[in-house]
């Protein structure tokens, strides 16, 4: 019966059109608003010591903290941004000044700093990172390592112009 066949096809087509329209309606405004800024994590600023020096490496190294820094909205990589890093490691507590260091992002907005192995403290093996240089809004991160035996950890910043 052609009538019922046509009806079903029309129904499916209309359904697809509505679903597609709804999906694009959801996507388009999100694109217009762009990449959302990263929000500060709970406990991220704990034991923060402002103005950690830029170093080639924290302590003896052996562990890598890596990540990216991008601009909110268009997601453009941000070169030359100072990221401060600290953690409880095999060489010191979070509060020890020698557990703190900073590095700058490269031209691709990527950073990479060698530091001592992070060990579990206060129940979780975790690191702390800060962007606190003023051009963008301050963000503190506190990523947790999936496993205490990991030898690297990454964290990503999307910054909102201040």
């Amino acid at each position: 019966m052609p009538t019922s066949f046509f009806t079903r096809r029309a129904f499916v087509a209309a359904g697809c059109a509505i679903a597609g329209g709804a999906a694009s309606g959801l996507i388009v405004p999100a694109r217009a608003a762009g990449l959302d800024p990263t929000r500060t994590m709970r406990g991220g600023a704990n034991n923060y010591l402002p103005d950690a020096p830029i170093v080639d490496r924290i302590g003896g190294g052996g562990f890598w903290m890596t990540g990216t820094v991008r601009r909110a909205g268009d997601g453009a990589p941000l070169p030359g941004q100072r990221i401060q890093i600290w953690a409880h490691t095999t060489e010191g507590h979070e509060r020890d000044p020698h557990s703190h260091g900073a590095t700058l992002t490269d031209e691709n907005g990527q950073f990479r700093l060698e530091m001592p192995q992070i060990v579990p403290a206060f129940g979780q093996p975790h690191g702390h990172l800060a962007y606190d240089s003023g051009d963008f809004e301050t963000v503190f991160l506190r990523p947790v390592m999936p496993s205490a035996s990991d030898t690297s950890l990454e964290a990503h910043f999307v910054l909102q112009p201040a």
């Binding site: 507590h93 060990v119 979780q124």
Partner: protein, 203 residues
């Protein structure tokens, strides 16, 4: 053979309490911690061991102890537990004040800290109930219900707190100790029918 049974029970208790402490003492994490942090951690481990002792004492499961002595020991162990909880929190506070402030204000990123803080307040409440037991103006049944209710929260909260932590305790010995504490608590509650018994002078 009452002597063998007595020896077995006390021997098992000694193992159940000593093994977790020894295992924690072997943790590689200790090498990277300050003495205060280590002491704070051990206060927590000792507290967990004491939590296992409490129902065993009051339930009369440890042979060779008179009722008077068991009750006195229960009070002493309760006081020690209170001291361990305070030492645990104080030591962690000295090690990292902001992390403890986050925990106490329930704003910590670590879910286990809320369980620990709730258990801490319940330890204070259970101890307070212990203090006023003699002056309790209502029927003793209501006192026992209140004390048991706080203890259920203490043991549950402590077990979840301990199990979620990656710390110095060995996973196996920690799990065993937590299971024993839960079983001992459940046994004493069911044996004494806390939910319906009135004043029971048995002990």
């Amino acid at each position: 053979m009452p002597h063998i049974r007595t020896l077995l029970i006390w021997g098992a208790l000694l193992l159940a309490t000593a093994i977790p402490l020894i295992a924690a003492g072997q943790s590689p994490l200790l090498a990277w911690r300050s003495p205060v942090y280590i002491a704070a951690g051990f206060a927590g481990v000792v507290g967990l061991v004491l939590i296992l002792l409490q129902p065993l004492l009051i339930g009369g499961y440890l042979p060779g102890l008179s009722q008077t002595r068991r009750r006195r020991l229960h009070r002493i162990v309760g006081t020690l537990l209170l001291i361990m909880v305070i030492a645990h929190v104080a030591g962690l506070w000295i090690t990292s004040p902001p992390d403890v402030v986050d925990a106490l204000t329930f704003t910590s990123p670590t879910p286990f800290s809320a369980w620990g803080v709730i258990a801490m307040w319940m330890v204070f409440l259970a101890a307070l109930l212990g203090l006023v037991r003699r002056r309790w103006p209502w029927r003793l049944r209501s006192w026992r219900l209140a004390h048991t209710a706080t203890v259920v929260v203490i043991v549950t909260g402590t077990v979840v707190h301990a199990m979620l932590i990656q710390g110095t305790m060995g996973t196996v010995s920690k799990t065993m100790l937590c299971l024993l504490a839960l079983i001992a608590l459940a046994k004493v509650i069911f044996d004494r029918r806390v939910w319906r018994s009135g004043l029971r002078l048995g002990g």
